[in-house]
């Protein structure tokens, strides 16, 4: 991606490799909030995030002489942090399960939670978007979060999540496609419900309207009235 690498980050990284503690401080102060925020997407146990951040920076300090220089330090930190946090989470789950002596197959990856801001001027679409967002699979949410919140490129996301660039593109593509479809569909139905639908303006086929109606009924648990008014649409 045409994103310029951070020269100051690279300078500080070289200092870190020579054993300069202030360089570690530099990276900590610059990125701890980003990392903490990312961690909160995976767990509500802030203590666990603290521990993972602590591990991450101590480990970097201990291994500083053997570290290569990453293109973007922030994504290198996110990736390493993610690995540490996942290990901690899986240890915890395993332990809880062994205590209950259940033979569950434990999910390899934790769920991903991030909330969208609802733009005030478009509460309606914003709410729909939020609802649609919540229905995305964890990986799609995470990839979109990394792309639009941390500003990582597809290359960077691939590195952080440990998947190929192609798979990253697909994940983002699918996520956005789903958001778009659900937002448009619910928007149309809202307009329908308000009786202000104008067909000419909407790029929807008959089939799409039919499937939109199904989805709408599912989402809002509304039963069509007996006079068949929905069908007339």
């Amino acid at each position: 991606m045409p994103k310029s690498q951070n020269i100051e980050d690279h300078r500080q990284w070289r200092l870190l490799q020579t054993g300069n503690m202030s360089a570690l401080t530099y990276f900590y102060e610059k990125y701890v909030h980003l990392i903490f925020n990312y961690g909160q997407r995976f767990t509500r146990e802030d203590d666990l995030i603290d521990d993972a951040i602590q591990d991450l920076f101590i480990r970097i300090w201990q291994k500083r002489e053997n570290l290569t220089t990453p293109d973007f330090v922030e994504y290198y930190l996110l990736k390493s942090f993610r690995n540490i946090l996942f290990r901690k989470l899986s240890q915890r789950v395993k332990r809880a399960h062994s205590e209950l002596e259940e033979e569950h197959v434990v999910d390899a990856e934790p769920s991903f939670e991030a909330q969208l801001i609802v733009a005030e001027h478009a509460i309606e679409t914003g709410e729909k978007l939020k609802r649609a967002w919540q229905q995305l699979p964890a990986r799609q949410k995470e990839a979109l979060y990394l792309r639009f919140y941390t500003d990582a490129s597809y290359d960077d996301i691939a590195g952080i999540m440990g998947i190929s660039v192609k798979a990253t593109y697909k994940t983002v593509f699918r996520g956005l496609e789903k958001l778009r479809e659900m937002v448009i569909i619910t928007l149309v139905l809202l307009l329908c419900a308000g009786g202000i639908l104008s067909f000419e303006r909407l790029p929807l086929s008959e089939g799409k309207i039919a499937s939109a109606r199904c989805l709408f009924l599912k989402l809002y648990k509304i039963i069509p009235s007996n006079d068949g008014s929905w069908r007339d649409l």
Partner: protein, 349 residues
Amino acid sequence: MKNDHSIGTYAGYGLNDFLADEDFQEWVKKDLPQDSEFWQKFIQTYPHKEKEVREAHQLLSKLKFVETPPDHTRYQRIWENIQAGAEAAGTVTPETVVRRMSPVKMWISVAASVIILFSLGMWWLNSRTLTLQTGSAEVQEFVLADQSTVTLNANSSLDYRKSFNRTAKREVWLEGEAYFNVRHFAEGAAEAPRRFIVHTRELDLEVLGTTFNVKTRRSATSVMLAHGSVLVRFRNKSHDTVLLKPGEMLEFTPGQPPVLHKAVDSLHISAWKQKRFVFSNTPLDQAIQQVEDFYNCTITVKDPSLLHYRITAAVTAPPAQELETALSEILNVKVSRKGDVFEIVSVQQ
């Protein structure tokens, strides 16, 4: 970079393609003038794509995430632990420099000594020791002057000086077992964090803001870290300082090398806080020790081969009045009383 040539590459794009295109996303996110120019030119060249470009732009511009504000106190606390860890990781030990003293410096140091002696006297006045204590089958939580909390297990005691919260480092002395939740900062103060040191017979534990369990019974001492970091120093310098990571437990018996357990179950180890005995495949002799420490009693076995039995159980500790029943309930054994000594006659199958 994008140029007029690459306009053509977008000619076949549909709405989803625009959405997932990195350059398109960059335009929406950053709204740089050269990007706007490029996409305007694109729309002029391919007017029938305008609607899709607009729609994609609209959706992407709504993808904004709720952000939690930074918690600087928290970040400061984590940083202190990182620093402690980085230092313990054996970095640079400052070289000691020996210099000759000039006469002026000599007088200054004499004056300093006088001041030090005076302060020592003051310190002595402040150094009266206070003790927190628990009896048999008693578990109690205490709040210290710095708002740190200490839960004492049965038959344990914690000593500290009256000046505990006014000195540069907070120090306590432990006998028995305790679970600490140490406050990083003194209550309401914006002052620098002060070290908190737990002294046991064999070990000195240095912490900042941290949660951990310390047990010093008989000759063995063990430290289990739940959160944060703990620096373990060996009193007689027999071993190198160890930095514990969360989830780790260090066990030390004098004369033997320390043992580091990598991933222990912190809830299991601190189960005593709820007055619960949790055994998982625990040898009977170890279980007996835990019970003896809790009730302050002596337990023997009739047949030494019984000690090979292993117990798996989670039992809430019964009150100490009916000790005989309590013991047989916890350990699942038959007990007979001989004076002050309880003897395990047999193990119930």
